[in-house]
């Protein structure tokens, strides 16, 4: 443990001793990690990527004209008792017509014989309800004897959901590429370090240094670079995220959607730091292993 601590201290000293090179390396790493974290944070807001689908939160059940008296109220009561249903309102056909008239104007509907609109039940569903459950509810209502039609904008919701899922898939690919590029940055930095210290490595191997003795400082260096890069990236991601979140806040509230996650939550951020360190350490390990194989083969 003390040897690792000492190696980490030496790695920090090396990074500080080459400020310009370290600045470039850390900027590249912070950008890659920051973009990854931003993409992860924002892709969790995409419709269909999370646990809920805000576009499926309201359903209109149009009732048949020929139905037993009071069956509409009974259906509304039944729906009200379902977990995940936030509000239910029975909309009589007269009120529907009134609304239509107020929207379109009296003149347009004056030629109609009576009221062509059916009674309807407007159901609001909690956004947290899983999509499968929403689909099951709508399907059940559609099969009800007194329900003529259910309108839930499923096609639009489905399309938006698909777009959201594709965006999430794309985001994951982008994250993978960014992490790969971070690994390449660390690998190249360590490779340069190894090349600069090849004589020293060959000598300590001659003097009986085990592979772990040679590997330790480089793995520590890679891990410190990865951890620092992830920490700076987290900071950048939080800055970008909060600035974008502020600018779209009015739009989000107009849609009645929950506020989007602006940045990675703290536990995720801390996990990202550890992951950054592990990625850096593992990449460095690969670099040293390659060189040791080459030296030992001679």
């Amino acid at each position: 443990m003390m040897r690792w601590l000492s190696s980490i201290r030496l790695a920090l000293a090396r990074i500080a001793a080459e400020p310009l090179a370290s600045l470039f390396t850390l900027t590249a790493l912070a950008s890659a990690f920051g973009l990854s974290m931003t993409v992860i944070a924002w892709s969790s807001n995409a419709p269909g990527a999370g646990a809920h689908d805000p576009f499926a939160s309201e359903a209109t059940l149009y009732l048949k004209d020929e139905r037993p008296t009071g069956s509409g109220e009974a259906l509304a009561k039944r729906i009200r008792s379902i977990d995940g249903v936030t509000s239910v309102r029975l909309l009589p056909r007269e009120e529907s017509l009134q609304r239509l008239q107020s929207r379109l104007g009296e003149g347009l509907l004056s030629g109609l014989d009576g009221n062509p609109l059916p009674d309807a039940v407007i159901v609001r569903i909690a956004p947290e309800l899983p999509l499968e459950r929403v689909d099951a509810l709508i399907s059940g209502w559609r099969d009800d004897d007194i329900v003529d039609e259910v309108h839930a904008d499923r096609e639009l919701a489905q399309r938006i959901r698909e777009i959201g899922r594709s965006a999430a898939r794309l985001a994951h690919s982008v994250v993978l590429l960014l992490l790969l590029s971070s690994a390449v940055v660390v690998f190249n930095t360590i490779r340069l370090q190894l090349a600069g210290r090849q004589h020293e490595i060959e000598l300590v191997r001659l003097l009986g240094a085990p592979a772990s003795f040679v590997r330790r400082p480089f793995i520590a260096h890679g891990a410190v670079l990865g951890g620092l890069g992830a920490a700076l990236g987290w900071g950048l991601s939080s800055l970008w995220g909060s600035s974008v979140a502020q600018s779209i806040a009015p739009l989000v509230s107009a849609w009645g959607l929950p506020a989007p996650a602006a940045a990675l939550p703290t536990p995720w951020g801390l996990a990202a730091l550890i992951a950054g360190g592990l990625l850096g350490g593992a990449t460095a390990w690969l670099g040293v292993a390659r060189m040791l194989r080459r030296i030992d083969a001679r």
């Binding site: 040897r3 004589h199 020293e200 000598l203 300590v204 191997r205 001659l206 003097l207 009986g208 240094a209 085990p210 592979a211 003795f213 030992d296």
Partner: protein, 224 residues
């Protein structure tokens, strides 16, 4: 301590450098390896130092067959051997003290104890006042003494020296010989490859002449 049984060593694209060589070196011996350039002295030292494995035969160092050891075990064997190189192989960006500290860091010594031992080793080779000097600031003789300090600092049971006076004038060579004799006097086994008869004579001890891939006892050399 060291036993070679019918050892051959060849490199890709060349014939046998050593051929069917058998040899035994007891603990506490002082051995001089004589022979022309290319005779195989350095190859033999690399085999003894567990730096290379034989192409055929068996090399036993400290009772262990180096041809069968895994990399980690070979490293452990090497830690018990002090190596002195003709070209010194010093770390030029580190001070004399830091150079001597390297084997102690490998051996896992606590920092304070390592410092104490490294300074003692530098004192022993007469470089106590130059611990902060970089190798490039030292003369050839001083660099070789620094190399010796690094070789002896972890008190190895075996010291292997490859042409330790190749780049030194006779006076400096005599100083190195006296130093090696001093370490031999306290029980360290020493094997020195040299083509310098004056240096060999000053070392005394057993002489092996390497030629045509073989080693033969050289009674005349020993008496000289």
């Amino acid at each position: 301590m060291i036993r070679l049984e019918r050892v051959s060593k060849r490199y890709p694209g060349s014939g046998d450098v050593l051929s069917d060589l058998s040899l035994q070196i007891e603990s506490g011996e002082m051995i001089s390896l004589l022979g022309a350039s290319g005779a195989g002295k350095s190859t033999l030292l690399r085999l003894l130092g567990a730096i290379e494995r034989p192409s055929a035969g068996r090399v036993e160092v400290f009772g262990q067959d180096t041809g069968r050891l895994r990399a980690a075990e070979l490293a452990m064997v090497r830690q018990r051997i002090g190596l002195i190189f003709e070209d010194y192989k010093l770390l030029n960006d580190r001070s004399a003290l830091d150079n001597v500290l390297v084997p102690l860091e490998i051996g896992g010594y606590a920092h304070q104890e390592a410092l104490r031992r490294a300074r003692a080793a530098l004192d022993k080779v007469g470089l106590g006042r130059r611990e902060k000097a970089l190798p490039v600031a030292l003369s050839g003789g001083e660099q070789q003494r620094l190399c010796i300090a690094r070789a002896v600092v972890s008190r190895p049971a075996l010291i292997l020296a490859d042409e330790p006076t190749g780049n030194l004038d006779p006076e400096q060579a005599a100083g190195i010989a006296d130093m090696l004799r001093a370490f031999h006097a306290v029980g360290t086994t020493i094997v020195v490859a040299t083509h310098d008869p004056v240096f060999r004579k000053r070392l005394a001890g057993r002489v092996l002449r390497i030629g045509s891939g073989q080693a033969v006892e050289d009674a005349a050399g020993a008496d000289a």
